[in-house]
């Protein structure tokens, strides 16, 4: 409960739509249903019920799949989840696998808010999908140098700024999304993030993804 209150207080757009529009960067324009879902109060019980339609892929408890095909969502910041769901619906983040299951015929903006609040409150399960563990020192060095400022020393992310929690996310998923970000294929990427990750080799990406998958935020 406290975590949500703090998060709510830290959300600048809650002060009013004008402020939100002025303050938001172009990569994550908070307008339309994204703004609506962010302002709506999520209901955990309703979110749990609505999530039934998601758990065929993201699994019960939102653990994702260890293969890394589907990300873990448990414990992720509600703001990040709302941002991603809205971007997938609008096509900004291209995800044809998921899009039909989250489109407007399936989920209302209220349901998006409900699901996000439900997921945010779920306990973070132990990491399941880790990398090969061969370059963890290199991964740690890269993470501390380039990633920790935004995603946090422990990979906890920052909901108020829409920086996702990366701790304990499945290795294969992290690696896949990192590649998409680097190669300019993730659609809704933060340009600051793209600038940082652009020069990374495949080995760099693998090392840092492996390191992140082992961060324990529980």
């Amino acid at each position: 409960m406290r975590k949500w209150l703090l998060l709510l207080l830290a959300m600048p757009w809650l002060a009013g739509p004008n402020l939100a529009n002025d303050a938001t960067p172009a990569w994550n324009e908070i307008t339309g249903e994204k703004l609506l879902a962010l302002k709506l109060k999520g209901n955990v019980a309703r979110g749990e019920e609505a999530f039934e339609g998601c758990q065929g892929c993201h699994r019960r408890g939102a653990t994702g799949s260890a293969s890394g095909m589907y990300p873990r969502l448990a414990g992720q910041h509600a703001a990040v989840l709302i941002e991603q769901m809205a971007d997938i619906r609008s096509g900004r983040r291209r995800n044809p696998k998921m899009e039909p299951f989250a489109d407007e015929h399936v989920l209302t903006p209220q349901a998006i808010a409900d699901i996000a609040f439900y997921l945010q409150g779920l306990p973070v399960p132990p990491s399941l999908g880790k990398g090969p563990g061969k370059a963890l020192e290199r991964g740690k060095a890269i993470y501390s140098r380039d990633c920790a400022d935004c995603h946090g020393e422990g990979g906890e992310g920052n909901g108020a700024k829409f920086y996702p929690m990366v701790a304990g996310q499945h290795f294969v998923y992290l690696l896949r999304e990192a590649r998409l970000l680097r190669d300019g294929e993730r659609g809704n990427a933060n340009p600051d993030m793209v600038r940082v990750i652009k020069p990374y080799s495949d080995q760099d990406l693998e090392a840092v993804a492996d390191y992140m998958s082992r961060l324990d935020k529980r």
């Binding site: 039934e52 998601c54 758990q55 065929g56 699994r59 589907y70 696998k97 039909p100 015929h105």
Partner: protein
Amino acid sequence: MAAISLLVAAPALGDDMERARSIVAATCAACHGLDGNSVVPNFPKLAGRHPDYIAKELGDFISGRRKSDIMASVVAALDTDDFKLLGAYYGSQQPTPGKVADPTIAENGKKFYFEGNEQTGVPACEGCHGTAAEGNRKFPRLAGQHREYLIEQILSFRTNARSTTRVMREVSVRMTDAEIKAVAEYLSSM
């Protein structure tokens, strides 16, 4: 009226069930069975389905959202106020267990039911329909259902002949014929 009497006078529940039984006997039982365990492979078993789901489908037949020549004429003869009652009647019937026809295919179907297909983006069926395929208010019970009916319905989602759910349309398009057959085998064996 039925709903009101359920609320205000608990003893009337038995009377309502008697009334439901007589409606079922006259209108539904020939195809679905008096106890909801249809013995005809093309007609679904309704025993143990969630009452709200049954009522919702009846409403969809009335509105034409769900198309069926047979059901359209049958529901037209029913009183829409009785839909919930009919749902409660069939929902409270004991489902009979299915039969295993091909254990190997059923085993493949079980795997698919619990895992889906990650490569092609088919969600695990159990996510919505439940670990025992028991269903709930929103998603139908599938356990013990006739394989022929299951296959026919999945194919009708695929062709959009049954267009009541966006999600099943997408799921069915992504499923192969072999996956449809296997999962129907597993469910009908439960």
